[in-house]
Subunit: 902 residues, 2 copies
């Protein structure tokens, strides 16, 4: 690794990297380089590669030996570009040190600003800027950040030095009767800096470094270290970012937005990230540093007229205050969109009237915004259809399918408070005031609204589980807004008339007698920013014609079919409306419901409890009309589309009556004692029912049960055909592990088919296939395909057997497995491509070796998971099948998969 290039310079309209090098330079570093190449005003700097981060961890958290030499060499170029010198007594260059991974992880890793301030450089800087207050304010900020990030966290001391310094600051202000930081004088700041340094030594046992070079080296190490910080690891797990990607480090010349009223800082989106509207959308603060905007501590001003809203319309926009600089920024917006052909999220600083670009990246957006931008940019001719389709992440569709507040319900209610519409959609739930409470309550199955003064990265787990998020402070680019939008979550920020007390767990609304307490139910309209202290009706948001158009476009790029798992005519209807092209899984056992003695569940129980073949047959015959009715109804709804009926699957014991009352009831009807019923139920008990007498195994033991289902299905199909319909039934035998199981049932199938065809005087086309959900079926798929005309992967069971994980019991250890990184994701959520994937691939290849045109699908719950859909496309599956509400997601995911793979 000695000749590897670890450090890339940028600045002065030149750069060693560019925007294609995100993997190596991180998103931030690559785009800083690109902006330089575009001739934009970027403070010079250098990027240390992500590979160096990997080296750092492989090398037991040591920097490569020659790294700092390379850094100092690159720093000379920065000095030249900026006309300053790092550590110099007269004209000192200050730098920031920031993380920058391949994929944005906002706020999850550490940053240190103002590096380079020391007893050697401060006097010269004061002289140069003639602004001693600014210099000392920067210095006390450096001490606070550095002590926290570099000395406390990165060294693993975890003494919480930051909180202690914050408290010192508050005490000092309190003693002096000061309300805000801006009231602190130069002298105050000098005193505080001294106090801080003493405290640091006292708490952490080391001096705050007064050497600029040592400061920078510490900063670099701290950024690398923060890649494995708790927050970052937790975020990566949620976002599915691999741990071994590593982060780059960007060392960049500092520019200051806090050098007085001719300085400012801001963040902007080239289009509205919540709605997708083609307006320049941003916030800024005069005389502030960047963190002040993002942290949500001060409510920022609008960038321009387009950004004004109820909360900020009284504040002066940049368009009004700095029209020339605003114009320059608008030109940059155009350059960037022309270059990147996407909506960008930018950060800028104005230092004494000069504009600097600090960051640009593809902006996060809501699903609605993603949809609108994709369609707009397509219409603008910026992107083609394929690119437009790729612009909407399938996971985001979930959000478009999310409910909104029913307008008629909302019209009768009055909002108790209004805030910024940071995440559209709606949510109703119980109020909690901490992330921990959100997690705890949601584990109980409750819908939760997380209410906070403001959120910070420590809150992410709670935000994840919440249905909605409401904060008192913060703007559209605050932490809460960014995170919520990334997840398509309903969110309202900056609800300024709400005062949150996290200790008493209450929120009071100013100028009213309303207090929200923990456990109260509230409704958020995230699209408008309105909060109601009642539970309002929600409704679907899928009627949008633009959405329909987008989906049709996506369908053009899709190779795989998308079916649905539905067990009733009603579900089938819903799914067909969502675009399902058939039913991939109709679970026969789901039709057994009802309470009366003449309803299916009761009759099924009679069948299960039968002690002789005669009793069993009588119950089976009684059951047949119900089975036929639902099968017929479903095929009717799906007229002209295939419907896959799975034979009765689960262990019979699941349906047996388990309470004494129910046993007594059925005993009376069957005419045996309740004790006898109890004995028969007990006989059905199995130690491991998931691997017990179920699926095709029932059919082998009780062929009459199978025969009844075949007959019901074929007669239903025949009757529909007589009525001029076009039923397309497919029969699916579950839990098979050997072709002989299929063959034995096939004999019955053929017999019943012949009889039914004779009875109705017609041919009844019906495919005969099997669910592939037992590892052995995959291993012997070549034989299975001798009889099976199609395969459908039951990935739930296949995952259970392949891992030896009982889905019912896995909660006892899955969290430990995820926490300890045994596996990257819950294999019941997303297909385990490494293991289960091998079996699937084997089954597809072997099956098609036997039967060239074998139709292969998947009907496990992972069928609606985008990563799994992508895998299925790669495997050459014919279709995926998922729950009705996930059909659009699967359609889009299938399109994405096919585009990416071709």
């Amino acid at each position: 690794m000695t000749n590897v290039k670890r450090v890339y310079s940028f600045g002065n309209k030149q750069a060693e990297g560019d925007s294609t090098m995100k993997n190596l330079l991180g998103g931030k570093g690559a785009n800083l380089a690109e902006m330089c190449l575009l001739g934009l005003p970027v403070p010079a700097g250098l990027t240390i590669t992500t590979d160096t981060c990997t080296e750092y961890y492989e090398n037991n958290c040591q920097l490569p030996a020659t790294l700092m030499d390379d850094v100092w060499a690159a720093m000379e170029k920065v000095e030249e570009a900026m006309g300053m010198k790092y550590g110099d007594g007269d004209n000192a260059l200050l730098v920031s040190c920031r993380s920058g991974a391949r994929s944005s992880m906002p706020g999850m890793m550490d940053t240190v600003l103002n590096i380079g301030l020391s007893s050697a450089t401060i006097p010269g800087l004061i002289k140069k800027t003639n602004n001693p207050r600014f210099v000392y304010d920067s210095y006390r900020r450096l001490i606070m950040m550095y002590a926290d990030v570099v000395m406390d966290k990165a060294e693993g001391l975890d003494k919480n030095i930051r909180r202690q310094l914050d408290e010192m600051l508050d005490e000092y202000k309190h003693a002096k009767g000061l309300k805000s930081d801006t009231e602190l004088t130069t002298d105050d700041l000098m005193i505080l800096a001294d106090k801080f340094k003493k405290k640091v030594k006292e708490v952490l046992g080391t001096e705050f470094p007064d050497d600029a070079r040592a400061q920078l080296e510490g900063g670099i190490k701290a950024v690398f270290k923060s890649w494995n910080g708790k927050k970052a690891v937790s975020y990566r797990r949620i976002e599915g970012i691999p741990d071994d990607w590593g982060t780059a480090v960007n060392v960049q010349a500092m520019v200051f937005g806090n050098m007085g009223d001719s300085s400012a800082t801001g963040v902007a989106f080239t289009r509205n990230p919540a709605t997708g509207d083609n307006i320049f959308y941003g916030e800024w603060l005069v005389n502030a540093q960047g963190e002040d905007v993002v942290a949500g501590i001060r409510t920022p001003s609008p960038l321009n007229d387009d950004t004004k809203n109820e909360q900020n319309k009284h504040l002066m926009s940049m368009q009004e205050q700095y029209p020339v600089i605003y114009k320059e920024l608008c030109d940059i917006r155009t350059t960037l969109e022309d270059t990147f052909k996407d909506m960008l999220d930018i950060e800028f600083t104005v230092q004494e009237g000069k504009l600097y670009m600090l960051q640009c990246r593809v902006g996060k957006r809501t699903g609605t915004a993603a949809l609108n931008m994709a369609m707009d940019m397509l219409e603008e001719g910026r992107i083609d259809e394929k690119t437009a389709v790729l612009r909407l992440d399938p996971a985001q569709l979930d959000e478009l399918l999310h409910p909104i507040v029913n307008p008629s319900s909302e019209s009768k209610a009055t909002p108790i408070v209004k805030g910024l519409p940071a995440g559209p959609g709606a949510a109703v739930g119980k109020v909690v005031f901490s992330a921990e409470d959100a997690v705890a309550l949601s584990r109980k199955g409750e819908r939760v609204i997380l209410v906070r003064k403001e959120t910070n990265p420590e809150d992410v787990e709670g935000m994840r589980v919440a249905d909605g998020i409401l904060t008192a402070l913060g703007g559209m680019t605050s932490h809460a807004a960014l995170v919520a939008r990334g997840w398509g979550k309903c969110c309202i920020v900056g609800a300024g008339t709400m005062e949150v007390n996290e200790t008493t767990k209450t929120a009071t609304i100013k100028d009213s007698d309303i207090t929200i307490k923990e456990g109260d139910i509230i409704t958020l309209n995230g699209t408008k920013g309105h909060v109601y202290n009642v539970s309002l009706d929600l409704m679907d948001a899928t009627e949008n014609p633009r959405f329909q158009k987008f989906m049709s476009m996506a369908d053009k790029f899709r190779r795989m079919g998308v079916r649905t798992n539905a067990d009733t005519p009603e579900d089938a209807k819903t799914a067909r409306d969502f675009g399902a092209e058939g039913i991939g899984l109709f679970r026969t056992e789901h039709m057994f419901y009802g309470k009366g003695a003449d309803e299916p569940l009761f009759i099924l129980r009679k069948m299960i409890l039968a002690s002789t073949d005669e009793e069993r047959l009588a119950a089976i015959n009684e059951l047949a009309p119900f089975v036929k009715r639902d099968m017929k109804g479903t095929m009717d709804v799906m007229n002209g589309l295939p419907v896959t009926f799975r034979l009765l699957d689960p262990p019979l014991h699941e349906f047996a009556p388990h309470t004494a009352e129910k046993q007594a009831e059925i005993a009376k009807v069957i005419g045996i004692s309740a004790e006898e019923v109890a004995v028969r139920v007990d006989k059905l008990h199995e130690t491991n029912p998931m691997m017990g007498h179920r699926g095709v195994r029932l059919g082998i033991t009780y062929p009459a049960i199978t025969e009844m289902q075949f007959r019901a299905l074929l007669e239903a199909a025949a009757e529909l055909t007589k009525d001029g319909k076009n039923p397309m039934p497919e029969i699916m035998v579950p839990v098979t592990c050997d072709v002989n199981e299929l063959n034995i049932s096939k004999v019955i199938f053929n017999k019943v088919k012949k009889e039914t065809e004779e009875k109705f005087g017609m041919e009844i086309p019906c495919l005969y296939g099997t669910m592939i959900e037992i590892p052995r079926a995959c291993l012997l798929a070549n034989r299975m395909a001798e009889t099976a005309e199609f395969f459908s992967f039951g990935t739930n069971d296949l995952t259970q057997m392949t891992f030896g994980f009982s889905r019912d019991d896995v909660s006892g250890f899955m969290q430990d497995y995820l926490d300890k990184k045994v596996m990257p994701a819950d294999p019941f959520q997303t297909i385990d491509q490494d293991g289960v994937g091998q079996l699937i691939e084997m089954a597809v290849v072997k099956g098609r070796n036997t039967r060239n045109k074998l139709k292969v699908g998947i009907c496990g719950e992972q069928g609606g998971d985008p990563a799994s859909v992508e895998f299925c496309n790669r495997m050459g599956l014919n279709y995926v099948s998922c729950s009705p509400f996930r059909v659009p997601i699967a359609r889009l995911a299938a399109a994405h998969a096919n585009i990416k793979q071709s």
Copy 2:
């Protein structure tokens, strides 16, 4: 298939086949051909190939179109050789039609004799033989057999015609006051033949065919049909004979042992099949057909002095009665042993002073006989060591390891009855009088002795499950004797003073007041033929030095090691005595026993029920000394041999106290309420514990449990080393599905190892490996082997997961699966090479790709199953591990496997 040769002729010292063609001609056909080539006197005939049987079934039970043409062409050669003509009015040839599969299936398929008798041939035959009684006796036999086999069974009518004809015969004799068949006159037989033919027409609806050619075609079809008869299928399942081998049909000129006192028939073994002694051993009957000897209806005479015993010494031997023919037979014996170099089972007939050989095949033998013959023939220089090793089937070893009656116990008891020692060894059990009762009682876990007048093929299932078999009739070559010997089962036949009444389910002993009733416990000494109506002590039979010598010889040909599964020092000792070369599986959880509050099980329960880490740690520390003690004791016994310790495996719930009493007891000790104990136990409950929180998963959640086991093991090893011993511990992590599980535990292992090595000041060599029992571990074996230094296949669990069959619940459907031929064998008994085998092969190949010298073994229960051992050898495994008593079987099986494969 038109040009295929389907018919092979033999006779007149010539033959188209030979003894190497068993697969095509069946064992009988191939050896008949060979005997012709050896110049022995064999009645001429023809063999229809086994492939023709397969054709017959593939062709929907139709004979190939040209087959009968080929048969008639071959029949012309038979006519020529025998100087007779089939169907001829003056000089008619009669033939038999018999089955003959690759592997002997005695009595399991059908035979028809005397084919060719008709109104056209009878007069000429009477004239020629001048023996009308013989002719009509043969005719009524033909009608009875043909009606049963060809017309009733093969046509699937199943009217039980045979029983009806038997009853007619009995009635006729009764009406005439006759006691035996031999008293029937020619007229009686003519009348009976007529009555039989009318009855056949009446019951079966068709005439008995009077056309010789039609008779032969019917006979051939019936033999093919009997391949799929119930008896044959059942036998094949037990013996593991594939259904698609098919049977050959042998059509052979009839010779008659029932043509008066110069005619006879007999069966013999070239050596004693029970003991292996090198004596000519056989039985014969004057004026009888072959079936009479085998059926056990008459007690046969001894062949010679060597064959005389208490039961038959009063009868005249062939050696005495026909010394010349006996001499000829002795020469044939020598020729055959010189040719086949093995003990042969022969059938012969003497027709009016002329000897004919009807059959020769390698004889079935007891394990003891197999051992002795192998060692004798080796010493005689007939065979080499390799062949000698192959002569003892590993499955037969079981019998050598079977108990015998303890002589000191037997010396105090008096036999109630004596019979022929047909199957050596001993058995104690409850008496039953039918095969059905034997099956039923054995299913309840009882040891069963099946007592019958005589056995027939319908009894095989009951004989299979019985520990011992006792019959009143029959000789050493009777059905009971043959079958029992084949299975190495203790058996006494021909206990002549015992009268069995199968209706009242009693057996009375003549000249005594002893009556054996159903359920009585009796003891059989099958080596002596003695029966006791008490329960005697049994003892081991492995001290035989010849056995030891044989096993050492076998070991020379073995590549794989043989280890044992043992959980205590005592088991380890037993296994070492049986030749185990290490322990392949030490199940840590098996050491948790005892009732007291200071014993391991109780302390384990405290650990399981702990609600805090502190409580758990306290219990773990309390448990450590017990774990260490057993580990140390076991390594001490196995000094110098490897011992594989598996970490705690089963779900904790299994060990939890489930009764209210036990819960109360532990509640008192822990100091919590019994209700709280119940709640904690309930929390541990899992729906599918086999796929739940067990194995390595426990260690991931509770690392302290793992750490304790590592420490106990490493300290035990260190202490033994200090004592000058040579412990060879191997640690095995169970239920793994991902290398990360191994890695996480390995960190703890390394830490404990370092600490222990420092504490004892020595290196402690210890392999770190994993059990491969989850399909995913096979699929990702390349990764597993990055950390695992050895693999050991846990084929029980691997079979469970691969099939999705819960071992605890499979009894609910496994019998149906075997009955309906879904699978050929219970995969928990013998490795499913098709499915599970693929995973094993994959794991071996992938594992060794990563780690060249990866040691691989198997420790599932199939490790002692010969077929599975053969598979393991083929897969290149390093060792198999099985229960102590199966170690010799595994050693021999491993030798066989290696010889066969090299």
